[in-house]
Symmetry: C2
Subunit: 347 residues, 2 copies
C-alpha cells in the first residue's frame, strides 16, 4: 500500500479553533459537474441608483430616509432579528429549553457609491469602515444587555444578499452565539495551558510553513486555514495578539483595511467575477470580563468552487455528517497567491 | 414591559440532541424579500431518459453500465469521496491535526422510473428502499474499517443534486462524522443518567403537547423539532427505541416508508412544487460496540421559506454566529399539518 499523503488521499483535518473536523477528498477534484449553475449578474451599476434603499438620500423600505452620507453610514436594521426591548423569560422544561434573547441589529453602508465593492474601494475608504466597526463594537457592546457583537458581510445574491450596494451588518446578542462560543472554549483552554494565544501560535507556525499564506503586511496576514471548509475559505489574522477592534492602532486599522482589500481583489481575480462570500469578525465578547484568550480575526466563507457559476453545495453529507471539500487548502492557497494583484477590471 | 412569549419575542432554543442553539425571530416573518429567487424546474420528465446516467440499462459517466433494474438499485459511487483502500496515516503536529479516513460511498436509485420522486412512489416501493438501506447499513458496516454509515438524500438542484432521477447516497467512514458524534454525546449522557432514550422521552413529551406533531402512524411519528433550524425542518422518529435500521420489523419498515411518503407529500403540497431538501438517517455507529443510547431517526432539512422560489439563506450571521429562523417551529408545523394529504398532482 502506498504511503499516506495529503495531496492524494482522503483525510480529515481538525479545526483547532472549534474542535470540529472537515473531510478532504483531494482525489475527487476532477469530478464532472452536471448540476445547478448560478447566474452571473455582472451588469454595470450606476454610482447612484434612485431605487436603491441604501443609496444616500433615498427612502428605505421602512419609510426612513437615508441622509446624504459621504462616509460609511450605519443605521438600525429596519427588520432587526434582535430587539433591545425583548422581555426576559424563557422555557425551562426538561427537553424544552428556550431563552429570551435581546440585541441590536444594524446595517453599515460601506460607501455612498452604489457601484463599488470592497476590492474596488480605496484602502483609505475601507479604513473608515474599520474605524466605524471599532466604534460600533464599542458603543453597541456598552449596552448592558449586549454581550457579543457580530460584525459580518454577505456579498452577492448567492449569499442571500438582497442589495448589491456595498454594505455589511452587525447583529449583537445577550448571549454568545454558537460559533464564537466554540472558539472561546478552545482559545481559553490553550491560553490557560500555555499562557499564549492559540491563534498567535498557529499564525507563527503558518508563517514558517508558508504553503497556506496568501499575503502578509506589517500587521496582518491572509491565509487559507489548514481546516478550511469552503473551497477558497480564508482568514485575516492580526499579527499582534489583540482581543478586539478597539485595541488596534490607527496604523493597524489601516493595515487591516489593506488586507481586506488584498484578499477580496484575489477573490475577484480568481474567476474574474465579483466574488460572493460571507465574512465576519470574531473577537472578544463585550460581557465586561477580561478575555486575554481572544485573538481578533476575520473569516471569509466564499461558496464558488470551479467557476463563476459552479458553487460548492454544503448539503446532505455536509449537513448530516461533516463538511467536505475536494481541493486541498494548499492548492487553493497556491491558486489565490499566484493571481495578479491588480483587480481584473483595472488591467 | 410585556410578558415574554415565544410567538412574538426573539429567543433562542436548545437542540438537546446536539447541544447547539437556534435563534428564532418570530416578529420578523413579514420582512419583504428583494433578493435571489430560485428557478422552478417543473418540466414533466419521461419515465425513461436515454441520457440519464441513473436510468436502467444506461451507461454511467465512469463507463459502467447500469443493469435493467426493476427494484431499488445500489452501486459504488463513481466519484467516491471516501475510498476503501486509503493508506493509514496522518499529521499529528501540535495545531496541525489530520487523519487518514477510509470508507465506501454508494448511490441508491430509489426506482427505475426517471419521472418519480418519493412522494409519488407507492409505499410498497418505498418499503423496498428502506429494506435496501437496512441491508446496506449492515453489509457496509461489517467492514472492519467502517464505523459509521451515513444514509442521505439530496433532492432538487437547489440542494446540489445533479440528477432528478430519484436517488440517495450512502457515505461511510472510519470515524464518526461531526453531527452524529455530537448527538451520540448527548444521547449517551442522557441514557447513562436516566437509563432511557433521550429521543424516546422527547417524543413522548411532543406527543402529549401535540403542537409540533405532523402525523403519526403505528410505529413512526413525523414532527417539527422544537429546535428546528430550517423553515420547514422535520424529523421522523421511531416510536420503539431501536438503535438502527436492522432492528426494525417488516411492519415497522413499512410504517417508516409510509411516514417518509406522508412527510414528502406534505412538503410537495406546501408550495405545490417538487420540494427540495437534504434528508438523512442518524443511527448507531457500526463500530462493534453496543449503543443502547442511540435512537433511530431521519432528519429533513428543506431550504424553501416563502414560496417555490424564495429560500432561506444560511449565510453571514448563521455561518459566523448561530442559525436563525423567522417563523416558529409551531407555525411551520401547523401549516404543514393543515395541508391536504393528497399529492397536488393527483387532485
Ligand atoms: O455526490 P453529488 O450528488 O454529486 O454531490 C452532492 O452531494 C454531496 C454530498 O452531500 C456534496 O458533497 C456535493 O457538494 C453535492 O453537490
Ligand atoms: O438581513 P438580510 O440581508 O435581509 O438577510 C440575509 O442575511 C441574514 C443574516 O446572515 C440571514 O439571516 C438571511 O437569511 C439573509 O437573507
Amino acid at each position: 500500500m502506498a504511503q499516506f499523503n495529503m495531496e492524494d488521499h482522503p483525510h480529515k483535518r481538525l479545526n483547532v479553533l472549534t474542535g470540529e473536523w472537515v473531510l478532504v477528498s483531494p482525489h475527487r477534484a476532477k469530478r464532472p459537474w452536471q448540476g445547478q449553475v448560478e447566474k452571473v449578474s455582472e451588469e454595470k451599476r450606476p454610482e447612484y441608483d434612485p431605487k436603491c434603499y441604501l443609496c444616500p438620500g433615498n427612502e428605505r423600505i421602512g419609510g426612513h430616509m437615508n441622509p446624504s452620507y459621504t462616509e460609511p453610514y450605519v443605521f438600525v436594521n429596519d427588520f432587526s432579528a434582535l430587539l433591545s426591548d425583548t422581555p426576559e423569560g424563557g422555557v425551562d422544561e426538561g427537553l424544552f429549553q428556550a431563552r429570551s434573547e435581546s440585541g441590536i441589529c444594524k446595517v453599515i453602508c460601506f460607501s455612498p457609491r452604489h457601484d463599488l465593492t470592497v476590492p474596488e474601494m480605496e484602502v483609505s475608504e475601507i479604513k473608515k469602515v474599520v474605524d466605524l466597526w471599532a466604534q460600533e463594537y464599542k458603543s453597541i457592546g456598552e449596552n448592558d444587555f449586549v454581550n457579543y457583537v457580530q460584525i459580518f458581510e454577505n456579498k452577492g445574491s448567492v449569499m442571500g444578499c438582497s442589495n448589491p450596494h456595498p454594505h455589511g451588518q452587525i447583529w449583537s446578542n445577550s448571549t454568545i452565539p454558537n460559533e464564537p462560543a466554540k472558539k472561546q472554549v478552545k482559545m481559553k483552554e490553550y491560553f490557560q495551558k500555555n499562557g499564549k494565544s492559540l491563534l498567535g501560535d498557529y499564525l507563527a507556525a503558518e508563517l514558517e510553513k508558508k504553503e497556506r499564506i496568501l499575503f502578509e503586511n506589517e500587521h496582518f496576514v491572509g491565509l487559507v486555514p489548514y481546516w478550511a471548509v469552503w473551497p477558497f475559505e480564508a482568514m485575516i489574522v492580526s499579527k499582534r495578539h489583540v482581543s478586539n477592534l478597539t485595541e488596534l492602532t490607527e496604523e493597524e486599522k489601516e493595515a487591516f483595511a489593506s488586507a481586506y482589500k488584498e484578499l477580496t481583489v484575489m477573490y475577484d481575480n480568481l474567476f474574474e467575477v465579483s466574488f460572493p462570500y460571507s465574512a465576519g469578525i470574531h473577537q472578544a465578547p463585550t460581557d465586561g470580563e477580561d478575555h486575554p484568550e481572544w485573538h481578533l480575526h476575520m473569516s471569509f466563507y466564499p461558496p464558488l468552487l470551479r467557476s463563476a457559476t459552479v458553487k460548492k453545495f454544503m448539503v446532505g453529507y455536509e449537513m448530516l455528517g461533516t463538511p467536505q471539500r475536494d481541493i486541498t487548502a494548499e492548492t487553493s492557497a497556491k491558486r489565490l497567491r499566484d493571481l495578479s494583484k491588480v483587480h481584473y477590471k483595472h488591467r
